[in-house]
């Protein structure tokens, strides 16, 4: 009744090629973006910004990058953490070694460096696929871990191996309060999500999907596998690299290679699988699930225990958090193997028939 495209006629090709062809969708997404830009900065407190919203946004961007590669092009990667690290360290080096380097320039150059390395580590994908490719990309992870721990030049000869960035500013706008950092990240996410959505609707995205669905058939109809696969690696690593740079610059402020360990790679892959492979929305939902749920459980369990008059020890809470988190992952994968984003799609389909289902 509410959600139905009856009466919305498309009279031009431009109208037919809109991202959101249904008016309700368009207004809903615009509403969410406006809410995030205008209302959230007034509503959220510092804890919300620094501990939840900023990590959520940045990891969503990284998950988006991984989703382009894994979900759209079908190339499994376990090296996402490494590309985040490359983005962060490259951006750091561009910022401190070149005088007058603007912040956004450094972040984007970090992303570009990561894209270059992504192409390099994507070359094995031309010969190996599936799990074997996953193992090959793991090499990127170990190589980068090693490089940033051992090669002193990357960390500007810092004796502890930890680097830090402060005084972020863009064209005179000093990004220092939590709300400003949040808006800064949000700006990146919105632009990059738009780019990702449009890429997947364009020739290049269709090529990726053809390769994913059946690479031999794709080759027969004239898609060059090398171009398609390597472009997917490049774009994905660019997204992940920018996310890594934001993670280091905006979220952590000072970091060491351990911030981008192999755990981070797994975490990003899980986000994409749980959120929904081949779905832009899925990247956000997956990131929310993995970032927010453990923190939520960690605070909710003692509160629940308090209500029941129980005192749960810190260790027990932490163990319970892992158990519940793990079982929820299994639960959602069993009942909805296509990811949480699929639930949203089902809800929309049901809503179209409501209140008179067949």
């Amino acid at each position: 009744m509410l959600y139905r495209e009856n009466g919305q006629f498309k009279t031009t090709y431009a109208a037919d090629q809109q991202i959101f062809t249904i008016a309700q969708d368009k207004w809903f997404v615009l509403g969410v973006v406006a809410f995030a830009f205008l209302a959230v900065p007034m509503l959220a407190d510092e804890y919300m910004f620094r501990a939840i919203l900023i990590p959520f946004l940045i990891l969503s961007l990284a998950a988006l990058g991984v989703n382009l590669l894994v979900g759209y092009c079908g190339q499994i990667t376990l090296g996402a953490g490494a590309f985040m690290a490359v983005g962060a360290y490259a951006a750091y080096n561009f910022l401190i070694r070149i005088d007058g380097m603007p912040l956004i320039g450094a972040l984007l150059l970090g992303g570009l460096t990561s894209a270059g390395l992504g192409i390099l580590f994507g070359i094995p994908s031309l010969r190996v696929r599936g799990l074997y490719l996953a193992v090959a990309t793991l090499a990127a992870q170990f190589f980068c871990d090693w490089a940033f721990l051992r090669i002193k030049w990357f960390t500007n000869d810092s004796s502890s191996g930890s680097v830090s960035v402060s005084d972020l500013s863009v064209l005179g706008w000093v990004v220092d309060t939590p709300a400003e950092k949040y808006l800064f990240c949000l700006g990146f996410i919105v632009v990059f999500a738009m780019i990702a959505k449009n890429l997947t609707r364009a020739t290049i995205g269709r090529q990726w999907m053809a390769i994913r669905d059946m690479d031999v058939a794709a080759e027969v109809i004239g898609i060059r596998p090398m171009y398609a696969k390597l472009s997917a690696f490049a774009v994905s690593s660019f997204f992940v690299g920018v996310a890594g740079a934001l993670w280091g610059f905006v979220h952590l402020g000072s970091w060491e290679p351990a911030a981008f360990s192999v755990d981070r790679s797994f975490q990003l892959l899980f986000m994409v699988i749980i959120g929904g492979l081949g779905s832009i929305l899925g990247s956000f939902v997956g990131a929310a699930f993995i970032v927010i749920l453990p923190i939520f459980l960690n605070q909710f369990l003692p509160a629940l225990g308090g209500l029941l008059g129980l005192h749960i020890s810190t260790a027990a809470v932490s163990h319970a958090e892992l158990i519940i988190f793990g079982s929820l992952i299994v639960f959602f994968l069993i009942v909805e193997p296509h990811g949480l984003a699929r639930l949203w799609a089902i809800a929309k389909e049901k809503l179209r028939l409501w209140p008179f289902p067949h």
């Binding site: 501990a51 502890s160 952590l252 939520f296």
Partner: protein
């Protein structure tokens, strides 16, 4: 089908609803000094994190049992972060809103991440025996307090001890000393000082990193067997330490020639190796295992006997338990000192506590009165020196327990001072901080 839909809907709505209700409920009780406690009771480092956390919390309980700080009761809340830097930062953000007095993260990685945040939030960062070594310079690092000792102190004393065994600093020439370190900011921290010392005395320094968490050290010890260093310095934490000792035993490297940092010298590190670790020595951050000290007896009587103890009774007085207890004590004494200036019986803010920590003066009489006789030596901080003391002893594992040696060492003041100033000035330049002048210090 129906069940599936129902279960899904229930799960989704449960998560949605409850996340809406649980916001940051700030329950700052009036008249209570709030101590956030960042702990790791789970994960790879839990065996070492647990006794520290128990000691920390137990001491707060002991202060309450004795009537608080001039009548102000202490409250606390633990936050588990599993030695992961990002979760540690989350804990910091969560607990700082509740009126935190001081933060003690027990992780060098988290300390680095919080060093930029502490000045903004005006909460002192106490890192007793870890953290950034250059943060001893309080004129640049206003909010960092590496009380009792830094890794540069540890490294300096380790070299002094080795020299003493060899018969003088001049005997170090031509020797080979290997540093087996945890490959993280924690393990890398002593390297600049050791390099400086190597240059001064002409010994060779071998750097052997071990990847987190440190269970894989076969290659490291193979290198040691080939290069035959005269001494091995062990800069490990958690399971890395016991693994290193087992590997030393397997490769036949004399445990007597091994010297650990104070984080590699506690019961969990050697317990599993038992007699195999006999002769292994480690630095102490002043205290060793102190089961006979008065403060431990008080603790057993006033806290544990009443069923208030946080951990098992047997653990009270062990090395890391004492470390936690002392970390807690210096923070509480900072609050007590601040009350002298800002009003006795009042709850101190982070900013006021910072003043207290900077003007801390615990002489031997005070320490003895608090039950720390034989455990600690005096600590006196100032604006320029946020460390307060650099007393270190050497303790040896005899197969069943740690025994502290009689000698007290101190870091070489001249060398330490110049290195600290160099590093802190460089930091100030990078961060565009103007160091406080002596006049500003007096305020």
């Amino acid at each position: 089908m129906k069940f599936r839909a129902l279960a899904l809907a229930a799960a989704v709505s449960a998560v949605g609803l409850t996340s809406a209700t649980v916001s940051t409920a700030a329950f700052a009780q009036a008249k209570e000094q709030f101590f956030p406690v960042l702990v790791y009771r789970t994960g790879a480092y839990a065996a070492n994190g647990n006794p520290w956390a128990n000691g920390y919390v137990d001491y707060l309980k002991l202060v309450n049992a004795k009537g608080g700080v001039n009548g102000v009761k202490l409250s606390f809340e633990e936050c588990e972060f599993g030695y992961a830097t990002d979760r540690g930062v989350e804990c910091y953000e969560r607990l700082k809103g509740k009126g935190a007095t001081v933060f003690q993260p027990l992780s060098t990685g988290v300390t680095f991440a919080l060093t930029d945040k502490a000045p903004v939030d005006k909460i002192p960062l106490v890192t007793a025996g870890y953290g950034r070594s250059e943060s001893q310079d309080g004129s640049v690092f206003n909010w960092n307090f590496p009380l009792l000792g830094t890794y540069w102190v540890g490294a300096d004393v380790a070299i002094q001890h080795i020299a003493k065994q060899a018969g003088g600093l001049d005997k170090l020439k031509g020797k080979k000393i290997a540093l087996v370190y945890h490959d993280s900011p924690f393990g890398k921290e002593p390297i600049p000082l050791l390099q400086e010392r190597a240059k001064m005395h002409g010994f060779e320094l071998m750097l052997l990193p071990v990847a987190h968490p440190g269970v894989e050290q076969k290659a490291t010890w193979l290198q040691i067997r080939q290069a035959r260093p005269d001494n091995v310095l062990l800069w490990g934490w958690g399971v890395m330490n016991s693994t290193a000792l087992k590997e030393a035993q397997a490769t036949g490297f004399a445990r007597e020639k091994m010297l650990g940092i104070w984080w590699a010298g506690a019961e969990p590190d050697v317990k599993d190796v038992g007699a195999g670790a006999k002769g292994y020595a480690a630095l102490t951050l002043q205290h060793s295992a102190e089961p006979n000290s008065k403060v431990v007896k008080d603790m057993l009587e006033m806290v544990h006997a009443k069923g208030q103890g946080t951990g098992p009774k047997e653990e009270v007085g062990s090395v890391l338990y004492m470390r936690g207890l002392i970390s807690s004590m210096v923070a509480v004494e900072g609050v007590r000192k601040a009350q002298e200036r800002y009003g006795k019986g009042k709850v101190m803010t982070g900013e006021q506590t910072r003043w207290g920590l900077e003007n801390l003066n615990l002489d031997q009489k005070t320490l003895d009165g608090m039950g720390f006789a034989g455990v600690m030596r005096p600590v006196q901080t100032s604006c320029l020196d946020h460390m307060g003391s650099s007393w270190v002893r050497i303790q040896t594992w005899d197969g069943t327990k740690w025994t502290p040696g009689a000698d007290w060492y101190q870091a070489d003041e001249k060398l330490l001072r110049s290195m600290v100033l160099n590093a802190s000035r460089k930091y100030a330049e990078e961060k565009k901080i103007t160091p406080r002048t002596p006049e500003q210090c007096k305020q």
